[in-house]
Subunit: 242 residues, 2 copies
């Protein structure tokens, strides 16, 4: 297949779902045409490629690691093949690259130099949890991680609730998986009983996916265990549908 | 194929790209198992289903229209099949349902009644433009449409720029397609020369897709024509990568 000279942004599965359920087949065709891949971790990237297609010629691919150990001054050079006319891919560890991961740096460099950037379709826990929450999808914010320290976190949660109420916007954030239960407990202690909270967990997993929306008052009496599972939190205190 | 009893959120293509390039094949398998579909427009929904698979048995599907002419008090009844144990689908006119369209109402009702909701993967201009912009994907807001009136619009643009600078968040919004050029002109007149602006247009279209990021100062001298094309605007005045 003829591949355009571009920086391709290639989503990766976020669960054990069959690839046919979460990735367009065209993505694999493009992957097979790329010999340069910017990835967070070479080992897991290889595993993904082998799972995409056991016959994938991994030996023909040069990998460039981009993670918190990378000297960011080096990243510009990762695009040398693209400057020379060869397509380059960016892959995340899970989900869509350049959203909630370090992948946006090479994209930013490519845009600055007028190099073509092509995003591909794939699973995003941010977008899919928003769709399934029932909350306002016409106005929303993704806030990444909240502050870790107790008082700062509580203040941030109250701030997000106030913005949601005032601006009718859904507020989305994430937590380190082993602290998910603790986060939900704090949410139920700090926010107003009528504020709605959605916890979306193991998105796209055919067995374990769970996307539940309840008001704070109902979460308080509920049993749950989200620890060590990939989850995302959404709160909504607006008036849409109410 | 055995389909779970759930409300399925089914994305629709946003360009003339081959479906294999933007939709997972598993979505079609699920669509084939649904006999109840909530859609914005029955005619375009039928066309989509026929394009998915010319042998699709459309006669076996009951359609329920949800758009600005719908009496919202009726929407609860659209979920009667689901309450009776039959899966129901929600489709948008383009892109992901319940994001920037009326689809979130039935999702909200389903969540309130504890009915299972399952989002499927597909193209989203919001997410794909964010990926390809090079802007901060660890914090961003989608703001829907901005005010139409001149002074209100200018004030809103300056507000979004200030929030982006202060909170390091990408700000995303849309415009009615025939006013895209006018919107971009106002952006370049009102915002700071160093603020970065991405215009993403005809996303996923194999021929026409264009995703360009430039500072306001460079947009000012540039020729462009985005009118009557599906476009989305992103601005960023933060410090990531700078």
């Amino acid at each position: 297949m003829e591949i355009k000279t571009a920086l391709y942004l290639i989503p990766v599965n976020i669960s054990n779902a069959p690839f046919a359920d979460t990735l367009p087949p065209g993505n694999l065709e493009i992957l097979k045409g790329l010999h340069h891949l910017i990835v967070e971790n070479v080992r897991t990237a290889r595993r993904f490629l082998k799972r995409c297609d056991p016959s994938f010629d991994i030996g023909a691919v040069t990998f460039y690691e981009l993670n918190r150990h990378t000297d960011l001054a080096e990243v510009g050079r990762y695009l040398d093949p693209l400057r020379g006319g060869e397509p380059v891919g960016v892959m995340s560890e899970a989900g869509c690259p350049a959203v909630a991961d370090p992948g946006s740096l090479p994209v930013s460099i490519a845009q600055r130099e007028g190099l073509k950037v092509i995003p591909l379709v794939g699973p995003s826990s941010i977008l899919m949890s928003l769709m399934a929450s029932g909350f306002n999808g016409q106005g929303f914010s993704f806030n990444g991680y909240l502050p870790i320290e107790g008082k700062d976190r509580e203040r941030k949660l109250r701030d997000l609730e106030a913005i949601s109420r005032r601006q009718d916007m859904t507020q989305i954030f994430i937590e380190t998986p082993y602290r998910n239960n603790r986060m939900l407990k704090v949410i139920t202690e700090v926010l107003h009983p009528t504020t709605e909270v959605c916890v979306a967990c193991d998105i796209t997993d055919p067995e374990k996916e769970s996307i539940v929306t309840l008001p704070v008052s109902k979460w308080r009496g509920r049993k749950y265990d989200y620890d060590k599972r990939p989850a995302i939190f959404l709160i909504y205190a607006g008036t849409k549908h109410n």
